[in-house]
Amino acid sequence: MTQNHTMETHISQGIVYLLIITGLHIMATGSLLGCSAPDPVVDSETEDAVTIEEAPAEEAAPEEAAHADGEPASEEVSEDIDVSALPPITTLAAEDLEVMLAEARDADQVVVINFWATWCPPCLAEMPYFVQFYEEYDGDEVRFISITADHIDTLDSAIRPYQAQENLPFPIYILEGMDPAPYAEVVDFALTGALPVTLVYDSEGELTQSWEREIGFEDLEAAVEPLLG
């Protein structure tokens, strides 16, 4: 596997990091911006089950509505972070992802891919479920791949602070460029620019489940369990 441009050299230049968190702290708590409900099993009358967008302000809780209206929901946090202890963040070309999927197929692994971004509130809301999923499932039988659509230029200002803040246990890959087309071909799913997107593949590499919306842990379990031996 050839993963380009490892960021670690760059990152390790500063062992002590000034962590500036703008909005992420609250955004990551879920239930924000009225985005898709954390629990995907929602009432059929709500739109939350199908998209990443936020629910109408009039249906949001007061604090959600305030955030949804663009009011400051951020705070600055300065914190000493030992970035050397964090999992790697690397850029990922489409061909690298293709190799990664081929390797998983050869190893008879079920694969779960999550496309997300720090600017995407529902992505952050569902992130704890991926942390839980990674900790419970990632291993010989399952490969979890976390891919952010954040631009590489925001590595220090957005991606790394969020990784540190949430203590994300898995490696993070960054899309090369902002064009999802080559990745869409590799993952066999039409990436439209909307996030989050989560894809599940069986051990033969067939796409068996896809979501272009926020999901919950139960969704992941329900999609993956039947694929395991």
Partner: protein, 199 residues
């Protein structure tokens, strides 16, 4: 294009709901150079807009959401762009809110707060978003004077919601069209918030 629109309207049922009417006879994606399907939608001030009202104009259609960080980030820059074409009568800006469960009143409240000067139309049932295959906000379509799609995609090349990009694709497309030139970059992938569609 108007003859085709009228024919399409005659052959298919127009969906009339909440002041929205769109032809639903378009099964294929609208590609660059294709005729842009017509619509009839009501804005937050109660005015009805039809694409045919803007024949021979250059029309910017921007799928919009008052909650989306990308929209909120782009608002001041879009507003500035709109202001820069204030004296250009041939350029029309229209926002379109396609999200389920979002009232005209809520959209108007944000519009005033954000200083949005251009009308925002309500796409009831996200029917026009479906026809145009729009998925995110902001996602922008520019219709040329002949009624064909001249640009589709991102507002600019920003890499995060609040930071203005160095290249404004919409401005570049508009300037090209006003100069009767081809749009150099007619299709740029838009990233943003997903559209909340009706179930």
């Amino acid at each position: 294009m108007w003859a085709m629109l009228l024919m399409g309207m005659a052959m298919t049922a127009l969906v009339l709901s909440g002041g929205v009417a769109v032809a639903d006879d378009h099964d294929e994606k609208v590609e660059i150079g294709d005729e842009v399907p017509g619509f009839e939608m009501t804005d937050t001030e109660g005015n009805v807009h039809k694409l045919e009202d803007y024949e021979d104009k250059i029309v910017v259609l921007s799928f919009y959401s008052q909650h989306c960080p990308w929209i909120i980030g782009h608002d001041p820059h879009m507003n500035a762009l709109v202001a820069s074409y204030e004296d250009e009568e041939d350029v029309i800006f229209l926002g379109i809110d396609p999200h389920a469960g979002r009232s005209l009143e809520a959209i108007e409240a944000h519009r005033e707060e954000a200083g949005v000067k251009y009308p925002i139309l309500k796409d009831e049932g996200n029917e026009y978003a479906d026809i145009m295959d729009a998925h995110v906000t902001p996602e922008i379509y520019i219709v040329d004077r002949d009624g064909n799609l001249a640009y589709h995609g991102a507002f600019d090349n920003r890499t995060s919601p609040p930071e203005e990009g160095e290249v404004n694709y919409v401005k570049n497309a508009l300037d090209a069209l006003l100069a009767d030139e081809e749009v150099a970059e007619p299709r740029i992938q838009a990233w943003g918030c997903g559209i909340v569609r009706e179930q």
